[in-house]
């Protein structure tokens, strides 16, 4: 100390100081500065300033001048740099500066002694420039001086906010407790949810915490959350009821409404613009659907009414084959049995149904319409110690259901104490029991009456506190019919004789979902199976067997705060064998060359395979709270024409308000490719070299919460088609579909749920250059669906569904000519096709439910589902006489009651 040696970090000498005395003074100042730097001032928000200490007594020197160092009068402190937050700097950082202070006390120059980066140096320099100081003095006279000044930056705390609601109805859970505990146990915080379910914990040091949310009567949930400095993390939690059946009611007292077993998807914002998810109570209580969840989705905006009971999905004016149906990410050829009577997966096994009407994530491809992904529950293994059913006390649960059409059973539970759980389910229709004698009475020989069945088996296990989940799922469906029609219709004699129809598929699916680290998740999915389609009329037939092998792998990696990447591989290999003998398929608007039998059929017998690999990558960006941008790209390869379809897509959501009532705007644009079907590139039935059909989706919408239960969403969409595949012509068509979808939804509360869905749309196609633009076959201008269900008490629940929908399009027929080869008249079709619309469709459906607790844990439910309650004769088409000179409207299904019984053990 007191050495005259010059500090290596010393700056220019102060003005007006002699060389000899200057050395001593500098030494003294340096000593003072060093001393000052050893004393630390209190922390300030955004940074810490260390005040200069009182100067030490200088070394005795002849005659010692009286020197006072600069004194800081005002220091606003340094702002914690944004760059450091982005760089996730979690430890305190010091920045030492050398300040040159002039005789007026102004900081003339600032030098960083040892740069530390991450924006700290710049922040410290900026703060130092704003310092206000008393100048240094010598013998009372202000002089220039140099001092060291240090800023200590402590990472700003994070805050975590959220909302606790019930899983069933999304109602706030006031009083829920939220506990945060750091990984090393040194930091522990608690919060309590307010009346609106909201909670907030501020001032939390950055780090990894276990967040536990608990409320009386609900199963607690825990999450691991990594809090970065200065950030706010939102954790919205929906708690399910504790997995215990309620105590049985006292004798003679009926429970007011059944207790739902519901699992609903988390609240993470979707990767798509619009994902519609209905809750279990909504799914199985919608009138007119027989409690079938997959039929319930036909009521959502964007889905047109299928004619009659047809089991097809018409999404935003697209053809049914443009919409893909998946079971937990594995493509399946059908999701409805014959005539859409019921779906191929029983409602009891469903976890959720995600319906994407357009602008879907790059996770899905090979479709230009929409996507429906059916999520299947993991088997339940919860024990009900109070159940009167002994097996339920061991965790085995059973459901039996029977209605007018089919019967089904579901059994699930744990496999001993192995940690593995199982589920078994099956369904069989009994339409054949009454239809076979009816058909035989009418003179037809029935070999196989219409019958369908489906089956499911699951084997599942979690490891490491559910961080790893593995599941094997075997499921399938079989529909078949075989009739000998003796009475040949004179107007269509080719449709007589043997008539056979069969569709079947099965899949064995293996799925692994694992959380490899806090930031990394992997999802592997593989499936093998078989699809079979058989169709025969007279001597025409179509036999197709295929053996799809599909695989998916997705790696989800959190790259940085607010940045997540999903990279995936989606491969389909489908060997097939086809054997067919069919009349040529007419082009749009073109009449058949005649009824079956009027011209030589086309024949084809071949085997081959479809190979469709795809890669996709998608970023999930949340740069700000309430903002979500999901850009991505998908590459699909089609081996038939050796082309890659590059499909960039981007979707975005922005919350305009951070608190209730939430307002969100959303939008998306993307390219979607639908590869040609094998017959479309086949030289016999199609055009070799046919490319994928392309659709560009554009969507923009708003979501608005009105009350806690009531929300409104509206979305405008525009879909432009290029290279539409026209039968026998290739990619010569084009088209567009546009419209507005609005959903007013009252989420289920203790009594009521309902929604009002309205779609205004238009879908047009042009079948080739020079052809007129025409309304597409599946265009429906207005689709209005109103649904409401109310619990009356005493176990009763009543629901209504009303639909008002534009009639379907049809092509009028006119008197034509006599085809001598088949002995029948062939009408002439009006041109362009689908030029007339059926009258407006309207229908009311009614559902009445009643439930009883027969014993603890044993519940019996019955329902009446009354389809077309006021027996409206809705027009589904036009019937013509033998030469199309007379016609009458053909009406759809009349009033049709269906009774159901359900027993839950």
């Amino acid at each position: 100390m007191g050495s005259p040696s010059r500090s290596p970090g010393a700056g220019p000498e102060p003005v007006g100081i002699s060389r000899h005395g200057r050395a001593r003074r500098v030494s003294a100042i340096f000593a003072l500065a060093v001393l000052a730097c050893t004393r630390t001032a209190g922390a300030q928000p955004g940074g810490t300033v260390r005040q200069p200490a009182e100067p030490e007594e200088p070394a005795p020197a002849p005659p010692p001048p009286t020197i006072t160092p600069p004194v800081v009068k005002k220091d606003e402190g340094a702002q914690y740099p944004e760059q450091a937050i982005k760089d996730k700097v979690k430890d305190p950082v010091e920045v030492v500066l050398v300040l040159e202070v002039d005789p007026q006390g102004k900081v003339r120059n600032v030098t960083v002694e040892t740069p530390v980066g991450h924006g700290f140096d710049e922040a410290a320099v900026e703060a130092a420039k704003r310092l206000e100081l008393e100048p240094a003095t010598r013998n009372g006279q202000p002089i220039a001086a140099k001092i060291r000044h240090k800023y200590v930056f402590t990472p700003p705390p994070a805050q975590i906010v959220g909302r606790v609601t019930t899983q069933l109805r999304d109602t706030p859970l006031a009083g829920a407790t939220i506990t945060l505990e750091s990984a090393d146990g040194t930091v522990k915080r608690e919060a309590t949810a307010g009346p609106d379910g909201a909670w907030r914990v501020e001032g939390v040091p950055a780090g990894t915490y276990k967040v536990t949310v608990a409320a009386a009567g609900y199963a607690p949930q825990s999450y691991e959350e990594t809090l970065d400095p200065g950030t706010e993390v939102q954790v919205d939690v929906r708690l399910a009821r504790e997995q215990i059946e309620p105590p049985p009611p006292p004798p003679g007292v009926e429970i007011d409404g059944p207790v739902e077993e519901v699992t609903v998807r988390g609240t993470r914002p979707p990767r798509e613009v619009t994902k519609r998810t209905l809750e279990q109570r909504e799914l199985n209580r919608i009138p007119g659907t027989n409690g079938d969840a997959l039929r319930a989705i036909q009521n959502l905006p964007g889905i047109a009414r299928a004619p009659g009971l047809a089991g097809i999905l018409i999404v935003r004016g697209a053809a049914p084959q443009e919409t893909g149906t998946y079971v937990d990410g594995t493509y399946v050829p059908i999701i409805y049995h014959f005539g859409g009577l019921s779906s191929v997966i029983p409602t009891e096994m469903l976890d959720h149904i995600d319906f994407y009407p357009g602008n879907f994530s790059t996770y899905f491809g090979r479709h230009t319409g929409g996507v429906i992904d059916v999520g299947v529950k993991d088997p339940s293994a919860r024990k009900d110690p109070r159940s009167a059913f002994p097996l339920a006390r061991e965790g085995v649960r059973m459901v039996f259901q029977s209605d007018s059409i089919d019967a089904r059973a579901v059994v699930q539970g744990p496999i001993g104490k192995t940690g593995w759980n199982f589920a078994l389910a099956g369904r069989r229709s009994y339409v054949d029991l009454w239809l076979k004698p009816t058909l035989e009475e009418l003179g037809s020989g029935v070999t196989t009456a219409p019958v369908y069945y489906d089956y499911q088996a699951i084997l599942q296990r979690d490891w490491d506190n559910k961080r790893h989940n593995f599941r094997l799922f075997f499921f399938g469906s079989d529909d078949r019919l075989e009739v000998l029609v003796r009475q040949v219709a004179g107007s269509a004699p080719g449709l007589g004789g043997g008539l056979g129809l069969g569709t079947a598929f099965w899949r064995l699916q293996g799925r692994y979902v694992g959380k490899l680290s806090d930031d990394t998740e992997v999802r592997l999915l593989a499936a093998v199976g078989k699809d079979a389609l058989q169709f025969s009329v007279g001597d025409n037939f179509f036999l197709l067997d295929s053996y799809p092998v599909s695989g998916r792998a997705e790696l989800a990696q959190k790259i940085a705060s607010g940045v997540r990447n999903n990279f995936g591989l989606d491969v389909l290999l489908q060997p097939y064998e086809v054997d067919l003998r069919l009349p040529p398929i007419p082009r749009p608007g073109e009449p058949p060359a005649g009824p079956f039998g009027s011209q030589p059929p086309l024949v084809l017998k071949e085997s081959g395979d479809i190979y469709r690999p795809a890669l996709y990558d998608e970023l999930e960006l949340t740069p700000f709270r309430g903002t979500r941008i999901v850009p991505g790209v998908r590459l699909d390869y089609t081996r038939e024409n050796r082309t890659w379809d590059v499909q960039p897509r981007v979707n975005a959501r922005q919350d305009l308000t951070k608190e209730f009532p939430r307002t969100t705007i959303k939008g998306g644009v993307g390219r979607f490719a639908n590869p040609p079907a094998p017959q479309e590139t086949n030289p016999v039935f199609g055009v070799p070299g046919t490319r994928s059909m392309i659709a560009n989706h554009y969507g923009f919408g708003v979501e608005q919460e009105i009350t806690r239960q009531l929300e409104v969403s509206s979305e405008a969409f525009y879909r432009q088609y290029d290279g539409v595949i026209v039968q026998g012509e290739g990619n010569v068509g084009e088209g567009r579909a546009y419209g507005l979808e609005t959903l007013v939804r009252y989420k289920p509360d203790s009594r009521f749920f309902g929604f009002l869905a309205y779609t205004l749309s238009r879908s047009v196609r042009r079948d080739g250059p020079g052809e007129p633009e025409r309304l597409f076959n599946f265009d429906q201008t207005h689709i209005l669906t109103a649904i409401g269900s109310y619990r009356l008490g005493g176990g009763w629940e009543v629901g209504l569904r009303f639909r008002l929908v534009s009639g379907n399009l049809r092509t009028p027929l006119m008197y034509g000519f006599y085809d001598a080869n088949v002995g029948a008249y062939v009408p002439v079709q009006a041109y362009p096709p689908y030029g007339e619309r059926n009258p407006m469709f309207h229908q009311l459906d009614l559902r009445i439910d009643r439930s009883w607790w027969l014993a603890p844990g044993v519940k019996l439910s019955m329902y009446l589902d009354l389809y077309n309650a006021y027996n409206q004769g809705n027009v589904e088409g036009v019937s013509y006489n033998y030469n199309a000179t007379r016609s009458v409207f053909a009406t759809g299904v009349p009033i049709l009651p269906s009774f159901g019984t359900r027993l839950e053990l």
């Binding site: 039998g597 000519f817 002439v828 033998y882 009774f899």
Partner: protein, 367 residues
């Protein structure tokens, strides 16, 4: 079981019964439908069938078409006549009949070379290996056909029409064995036949009309346009079905003499006592229907269609042979006689699904 549980079950049973009754009542409401007059009922100008003497003709063979037609109109201001369009359309694109009237090189016509219009017989008399194959392009000279005149005097008339299958008619086809197609058009018209050129809109309309003397189009009761396709294969044969016998209530009848039945005396039409009519076709008519290599061959489907100008049939047509099951045992059809004594006709046309046909004309005497 405890009394409370039993009471609960009884309440459930009552509730279920209530629902069942409501459902049954609802089903009762849901019945009811209307229908059209059967195709079997002949009340207008009708073509019942056209029979080619060689359903699968070889190139160079002469084919004769015979039409079975009747005029069932109550009022007949003009007689029905059968006219034939005097050309044969050879191999129209994709076998579409209306492409015969689309000029080659226009629109779809040129897709696979276009159709060819042939005269029924070569001008030089049609010697084997003559100039068959030379013809007019489809639609090529339609514009030269005068409009607004009665074409009847210029058209062949009668129940038969013959033409010669061109030597080069057979051509390769994707997904099918090589074959040739000749299309012949005819019209049963109770008026005049006029040419109406194809106009915009539907291309499917055949450009001929049946009109009155002023050129006003007549209705569907007054005319029928017929389309007749004759196929030609290198190695495939087809013969017309052979009718072995016709039975009335199981007893064979002489088609020339017809059948005699009692008139209906029941108050309700449904209570009229029916007779059973059956047309039996020989087993040999159930020919093999060859397929391509590698596919199992099938056999023909054969059915019979019934028509009558009095009384009515319960079914318009009956299956006689199924492609797999063979002969159908129950192939008879119920015929209900009219209320009044009358003389009429039953027409039965047997078809196979390879353009073969056979006719039965059965006089009916109602007592």
């Amino acid at each position: 079981m405890r009394a409370a549980s039993l009471a609960r079950l009884r309440r459930i049973a009552r509730w279920f019964l209530l629902l069942a009754v409501a459902g049954a009542a609802a089903i009762g409401v849901a019945c009811g439908a209307g229908g059209f007059e059967s195709q079997s009922k002949v009340t207008s100008v009708r073509i019942f069938g056209v029979r080619a003497d060689k359903p699968y003709a070889k190139p160079g063979e002469t084919v004769t078409l015979e039409v079975l037609a009747a005029d069932g109109r109550r009022d007949k201001p003009r007689p029905m006549r059968i006219f034939w369009i005097p050309f044969v359309c050879i191999n129209p694109p994709e076998d579409l009949y209306y492409m015969c009237f689309v000029p080659s090189g226009v629109g779809d016509a040129g897709a696979d070379g276009g159709a060819r219009l042939e005269l029924p017989f070569p001008i030089d008399g049609g010697t084997e290996g003559g100039d068959a194959g030379a013809g007019l392009p489809a639609g090529g000279d339609l514009a030269s056909i005068p409009q607004n005149i009665d074409l009847g005097p210029f058209l062949p008339q009668g129940t038969t029409f013959s033409f010669r299958m061109p030597d080069d008619v057979i051509k390769e086809r994707p997904g099918a064995p090589p074959y040739g197609l000749a299309i012949v058009f005819n019209i049963a018209c109770a008026g005049q036949v006029r040419f109406v050129p194809p106009s915009g809109g539907s291309r499917q309309q055949i450009p001929i009309r049946c009109t009155d003397e002023e050129g006003n189009p007549l209705g569907p009761d007054d005319y029928v346009i017929g389309i007749n396709r004759v196929y030609s294969y290198v190695d495939r044969e087809n013969t017309n079905p052979i009718v072995e016998r016709v039975t009335l209530d199981g007893v064979e009848v002489d088609p020339a003499r017809g059948i005699t039945v009692d008139r209906c005396v029941a108050k309700r039409r449904a209570d009229c006592k029916p007779v059973l009519i059956d047309v039996k076709v020989s087993e040999s008519s159930w020919e093999e229907n060859p397929s391509i290599a590698g596919q199992a061959s099938q056999r023909e489907q054969i059915w019979v269609t019934y028509y009558s100008d009095l009384g009515d049939f319960r079914d318009e047509a009956r299956l006689l042979f199924d492609t797999k099951r063979g002969r159908i045992d129950q192939s008879d059809v119920e015929f209900r006689p009219p209320y009044e004594p009358a003389e009429g006709t039953i027409w039965a046309v047997v078809h196979d699904n390879r353009a073969g046909a056979a006719f039965v004309v059965l006089p009916v005497h109602v007592k």
